[in-house]
């Protein structure tokens, strides 16, 4: 039987328009044989949670370079929990200071990747996390 592909939603919450990182990661994950959905910029946490559940993704990758991550990332986690998507893993990246990482992790974000992270590292993390979960 063919192995089920990992399904990923790459999303940009908030008003930030810097989508280079999101697009590069979306493509790298696709090249790593994952199924990737990218919904474009200016998504609300509600839209992201709804898409994640509707599409039955394993993992949501959030990208934010505007400094609004402390507000937006935890909100996505909470909405997923409320709407029955509590098994969906949430990771994040962008311009995120070190001090904010423990706060985000406490709020349920599984990992935060800072600038310079290789896409291979992210792919490895996703594969390990999804494997652990199932």
């Amino acid at each position: 039987m063919e192995e089920r592909k990992i399904r990923v939603l790459i999303a940009k919450p908030g008003l930030d328009g810097h989508d280079r990182g999101a697009k590069v990661i979306a493509r790298a994950l696709r090249d790593a044989v994952m199924e990737v959905i990218y919904t474009g910029i200016r998504q609300t946490p509600e839209q992201i949670a709804a898409t994640a559940i509707q599409e039955g993704v394993d993992i949501v990758g959030l990208s934010c370079l505007s400094g609004a991550h402390n507000q937006l990332f935890p909100q996505v986690v909470q909405l997923l929990r409320q709407k029955g998507g509590d098994d969906i893993i949430v990771i994040g990246g962008g311009i995120i200071p070190y001090d904010d990482i423990p706060v985000l992790k406490k709020a349920g974000v599984a990992e935060v990747f800072q600038p310079g992270t290789s896409t291979q590292e992210i792919i490895r993390f996703i594969k390990e996390r999804v494997a652990k979960r199932t």
Partner: protein, 557 residues
């Protein structure tokens, strides 16, 4: 008389003897050497590499067509470039303090960074703005905030650049209203609004309205400013964000100039004479890592624009042919790893901008891979420019690298390749069509992905990132924006709403909507709305109702 030496023969001899011996002993580091734009570099450039070049047609003299050697005859011997650090955060009160600090440190122009709600036309209490207020720039909800932002800064004494696009007309109107209150005649206002919506669709993301309606607002601004604000740069056609989004140097030049062509066409179609507005068009480029390619890029862009304006659009005035530009060092090259190294990176990038003949410059700060810069970091960045200006000596000769075989050959190659792109875009029907079809977005995304792969495969070395790495302790000395800012900003906004003449606001918004449905110039109506203390969100919404909103086509590849 000097004897005529055949340099091709000499080169051949050298290759067969001196070079060959060395290559046998120690091969070169790589099979081929390429720039970011995939231009294959020769080992050595010779006089005959540029012998085809017609000096007066391709280089000319500084201050003359085609301006390859610079837009002014004396360049930095007359006056240094404007040192202009992009700044803005939190509230108008805090940013006003930072501006006064920067001016005291010797900065010569202001550059306003607005937060995303301001850039996208939402008031600070809009539900979509939670967490965004005051983050990437200063929050401006109404004229009241703008008055605070420039409090104690005489607008006839500074030049102000505003990074504002979809809401440029509103922010410019606020600036005009502040100037009027200060008693400054409008013809003395100097500055720039970015006002470049096309690259928002392809690279930066702060669009509101669809392209056609956006282009109308832009040409309305051109028409409004040409007599009333004769010293104002009505647009800053920006390659910076295209480059930051991942393009190569050649693509940066090509897509920026293609956007420029679209603006000029739109303005001519709106009935403006090309020579009446062209001198107020300005440009904005990034300065990336590849030092020589970047210098050549700036020179090529200048030459190309001169030709485009003169040959394609038939502009008659030399000032219409001139590509004047601002440069920012490339934010995407800053590393979160060993951030102190960024100071050095920025210095080389800034030097390339100066050797390329920039009119103004922003140098990034070492800590910007984490957050907005601290005051200390910004000071180092500004000092970097001052060291180039006052200590390095490069400012004492006009276009000092002009005539370098390598630089001239690279300048030609960039021009050639960028011209090919522009032809392709012309064939598609111009930049707007190329954006609507996703061509430009795809080209940028492909380059971005290629660049990332090169780093991961170590074909491209980034010091401290994929080579020469060390275990590091977290870098935590950064600027933090308090969540209190959002609450305070909302309070101020409510106060404005409760204290203004609400009938005047209502009337002004109604008249703006009516004008938007017709063909009149929108600027006077926006100015009246601003002066009535209508909020930015209200004004933007009035136009949303008439114009609708743009929805992006999501393109990964």
């Amino acid at each position: 008389m000097k004897s005529k030496v055949d340099l091709r023969k000499e080169l051949h001899r050298w290759q067969q003897t001196t070079l060959k011996k060395v290559l046998e002993r120690s091969p070169e580091r790589k099979q081929s050497f390429k720039t970011t734009s995939d231009i294959e570099l020769k080992r050595l450039y010779m006089p005959f590499d540029i012998e085809e070049m017609e000096y007066m047609e391709e280089l000319g003299l500084p201050g003359e067509y085609p301006f390859t050697r610079g837009v002014q005859p004396t360049m930095y011997r007359g006056r240094f470039w404007t040192m202009r650090q992009y700044a803005g955060f939190a509230t108008a009160e805090e940013t006003n303090k930072r501006y006064k600090y920067l001016l005291k440190q010797g900065q010569t122009g202001l550059s306003v960074a607005f937060d995303l709600p301001t850039q996208i036309g939402y008031d600070s209490d809009h539900p979509l703005c939670a967490g965004e207020v005051g983050k990437v720039g200063v929050a401006i909800d109404s004229l009241a905030d703008m008055e605070i932002l420039f409090d104690g800064i005489p607008l006839d004494k500074v030049s102000t650049s505003m990074t504002i696009n979809a809401t440029a007309a509103m922010l410019l109107a606020m600036y005009i209203a502040v100037a009027e209150k200060q008693g400054v005649p409008l013809d003395q206002l100097r500055g720039t609004i970015q006002n470049d919506i096309l690259k928002e669709y392809t690279a930066r993301g702060t669009y509101i309205y669809p392209p056609k309606e956006s282009m109308r607002i832009i040409t309305d601004i051109f028409a409004f400013c040409k007599d009333r604000l004769p010293q104002w740069n009505t647009i800053s056609i920006s390659g910076y964000h295209i480059r930051e989004a991942g393009s190569s140097a050649v693509q940066e030049v090509a897509f920026t100039l293609a956007d420029g062509i679209a603006y000029v066409k739109a303005a001519i179609e709106a009935g403006l004479d090309v020579d009446s507005f062209a001198r107020r068009l300005s440009f904005f480029f990034g300065a990336h890592n590849n030092f020589l390619e970047e210098i050549a890029k700036f020179r090529a862009a200048r030459r190309m624009w001169a030709k485009i304006m003169r040959e394609r659009f038939g502009a008659k005035k030399p000032s219409s042919w001139m590509l004047r530009f601002h440069t920012q060092t490339a934010g995407c090259t800053l590393t979160a790893q060993q951030p102190e190294n960024n100071v050095v990176r920025v210095a080389f990038q800034a030097l390339a901008a100066v050797l390329g003949g920039t009119q103004s410059l922003h140098t990034n700060s070492r800590d910007e891979a984490f957050a907005l810069p601290t005051e200390e970091s910004v000071t180092i960045a500004l000092r970097t420019q001052q060291i180039i200006a006052y200590e390095s000596g490069v400012a004492d000769i006009v276009d000092p690298l002009g005539g370098s075989y390598a630089i001239e050959a690279l300048t030609e190659q960039i021009e050639e390749r960028a011209t090919e792109y522009i032809q392709k875009i012309d064939e598609m029907g111009g930049a707007i069509k190329a954006i609507e079809s996703g061509f430009i977005q795809r080209e940028i995304a492909n380059s971005a992905y290629k660049y990332q792969k090169e780093i991961e495969e170590k074909e491209r070395i980034i010091v401290g990132l994929n080579e020469f790495t060390v275990e590091e302790s977290p870098f935590t000395d950064i600027l933090k924006i308090s969540p209190e800012v959002e609450r305070y900003q909302r309070e101020k906004l409510n106060k404005v709403r409760s204290q203004r003449d609400s009938q005047r606001v209502k009337d002004s918004l109604k008249r703006l909507k009516e004008a938007a449905q017709g063909t009149e110039n929108l600027m006077p109506y926006i100015l009246e709305a601003v002066k009535s203390y209508a909020t930015l969100g209200e004004i933007a919404d009035a136009l949303r109702e008439v114009f609708g909103e743009y929805k992006e086509h999501t393109i990964i590849t």
